[in-house]
C-alpha cells in the first residue's frame, strides 16, 4: 500500500523534486568551485612563515569548522543585512557552503602537503630550486594529488549539507519536498522520495570515491 502511494506521489511530485535536486547539485558545484581554491589558499596561509598570516588563517579555519552550518547560513542570510550586506538566498547558501568547504578542506590540504615525502623537498633544493619555487612546482602539485580523494568526500558532504539551505528557503530538494508535503499532507511519501534521491546520488558517488582512493593510492604503496 505504501509502495502504491509512493508511486502516485512520485508521479505527482517528480517535476518539483527533480528541479529541487538539480538546484541542490548546482549549489554543490558552485560552492565547491569557490571552496576548493579557497581551501588551498587557507592551507598555505596556515603553513606560512609569517606568524600573523598563520594565526589569521587558523582563526578563519576554526570559525568555519566550529559553527553549525545551519547557524552560519542564518547568520549570512538574516544577520548580514544588519551590517549592510544583503544577499539573495542562492548567494547566501553558496557563501556559507563555500566557507565550510574551505575551512574543512584546508585541514585536508594541510595534512596532504605535510604528507609529501621529505625527499621531494631535499631533491628540489639540491636541484637548485628556491624555497618558493620548490613549494609551488614540486610540493603543492603532489599535495593536491594526495588531497583529491578526501576532498571529493568533502564534496559529497557538501551535497548532503545543501539540504540545510532549507532554513533560508533556498529552492533546493528539501524545500521542494516540504512544499509538496505541506500542500498535500503526503509528508511520508515525499520525504521517502527525497531521501531516495539523496541516496541515489550519494551512494554511487561514495563508492566511486573509495575506488578512486585505491587507484590513486596504488603508486604510494611502492614509495613507502
Amino acid at each position: 500500500m505504501i509502495g502504491q502511494s509512493l508511486v502516485s506521489a512520485f508521479e505527482a511530485a517528480h517535476a518539483e523534486l527533480f528541479e529541487g535536486l538539480l538546484n541542490s547539485i548546482l549549489l554543490t558545484v558552485a560552492s565547491l568551485a569557490i571552496g576548493y581554491p579557497l581551501a588551498v589558499v587557507l592551507a598555505v596561509c596556515v603553513m606560512a612563515p609569517s606568524r600573523w598570516v598563520r594565526r589569521t588563517g587558523l582563526v578563519i579555519v576554526e570559525i568555519g569548522r566550529g559553527l553549525p552550518l545551519l547557524v552560519l547560513l542564518q547568520l549570512i542570510y538574516f544577520g548580514l543585512p544588519d551590517a549592510g550586506l544583503t544577499l539573495g538566498v542562492t548567494a547566501a547558501a553558496v557563501a556559507g557552503l563555500a566557507f565550510q568547504t574551505a575551512a574543512y578542506g584546508s585541514e585536508i590540504m594541510r595534512a596532504s602537503l605535510e604528507a609529501v615525502p621529505q625527499g621531494q623537498h631535499e631533491a628540489a633544493s639540491a636541484a637548485g630550486l628556491s624555497a618558493a619555487a620548490s613549494f609551488w612546482t614540486i610540493v603543492l602539485p603532489q599535495g593536491i594529488r594526495i588531497a583529491i580523494p578526501p576532498m571529493l568526500s568533502i564534496g559529497l558532504t557538501v551535497f548532503l549539507a545543501t539540504s540545510l539551505a532549507f532554513v533560508i528557503t533556498a529552492p533546493e530538494l528539501m524545500s521542494k519536498a516540504y512544499g509538496y508535503g505541506s500542500s498535500t499532507f503526503q509528508y511520508l511519501e515525499v520525504f521517502v522520495l527525497a531521501g531516495l534521491m539523496y541516496a541515489a546520488i550519494a551512494l554511487p558517488a561514495s563508492a566511486a570515491v573509495a575506488l578512486l582512493e585505491r587507484r590513486l593510492g596504488r603508486h604510494l604503496a611502492h614509495a613507502h
Binding site: L70, Q74, D82, L164, M174, A177, F191, A194
Partner: protein, 214 residues
C-alpha cells in the same frame, strides 16, 4: 546583550541533552551493528552495510522530517524532542559503528590468533582482547564525532526543538537584531565544543603515551 543571552541560555540545556543522549544511544546501538557487520553470513553483513550506508547517504534534516512529519501518517506521532533524539541516535549509531570497525581493524591479527590458540572463545576475544586495544583508536575519533553531533543538533530546530539555534532565530524574528543574536549563538556553539576538543586531544595523548603508540 543580556536579554539576548537570556533568550538563548534555556536552549543550551536542550542542545547539551540532545547531544549527550543521542551520542550515548548511538554508542550502544553501534555495538550490534558492528557485530552484524563482522558476521560470517554474507546476507547479514550486506544488510548491515546497507543500513549504515543508507543512514550516511541521506541528510539528517531529511530523517528528522521523515520521523516528525511523515510517521504520523502511519500512526506514530512523536513530540519534537523524542523525534530528534531517535533520528540523531540512529544516525550516530551508523557513524560510530564505522569508528568501532576502524578500531577493530587496527588491532593486529596476531593478537586474535594468539588469543584463539590460548583457547579463548569469540566473546572473550572480542571483549578482552580486541576491545581494550581498539578503544585507543575509537576514543579520539568518537570525540571528534561528538563535536560534529553537537553542531548537528541545530538541525532539530527545524522541527521545533527549543535548542540554541531555535531560541536564537525565534528571538531574531521577534526583536530583529539577527546579526547580534546569531553571532552570540555561534559563539556559544564554539565555546561548548571547546571542552570536547580538549578532552579529545588530552585523551588521545594519554592513550598514546600509555600504549606507546607512535
Amino acid at each position: 546583550m543580556t536579554d539576548a543571552l537570556d533568550a538563548i541560555l534555556p536552549g543550551v540545556l536542550n542542545t547539551l541533552l540532545l547531544t549527550a543522549l543521542s551520542f550515548l544511544a548511538g554508542a550502544v546501538l553501534a555495538l550490534p551493528i558492528v557485530a552484524l557487520r563482522s558476521s560470517r553470513g554474507l546476507l547479514v553483513r550486506g544488510i548491515a552495510r546497507l543500513f549504515v550506508d543508507l543512514l550516511r547517504s541521506v541528510p539528517p534534516i531529511t530523517w528528522l522530517f521523515l520521523i516528525f512529519f511523515g510517521l504520523p501518517q502511519v500512526g506514530v506521532t512523536l513530540d519534537a524532542f523524542p523525534a530528534a533524539l531517535i533520528g540523531l541516535s540512529v544516525i550516530a549509531s551508523a557513524f560510530l559503528s564505522e569508528t568501532y570497525r576502524a578500531g577493530m581493524l587496527a588491532v593486529d591479527r596476531g593478537q586474535v590468533e594468539a588469543a584463539r590458540s590460548l583457547g579463548l572463545g569469540s566473546l572473550d576475544v572480542g571483549v578482552r582482547i580486541i576491545a581494550p586495544q581498539a578503544i585507543r583508536v575509537v576514543i579520539p575519533t568518537s570525540a571528534t564525532y561528538a563535536i560534529g553531533l553537537l553542531k548537528d543538533t541545530s538541525v532539530a530546530s527545524t522541527i521545533g526543538v527549543a535548542e540554541i539555534a531555535m531560541k536564537a532565530s525565534g528571538y531574531a524574528q521577534q526583536n530583529g537584531q539577527a546579526l547580534r543574536i546569531l553571532t552570540l549563538a555561534g559563539v556559544i556553539y564554539l565555546v561548548l565544543s571547546l571542552p570536547l576538543a580538549i578532552v579529545s586531544r588530552g585523551v588521545d595523548r594519554r592513550l598514546r603515551l600509555k600504549f606507546a603508540v607512535v
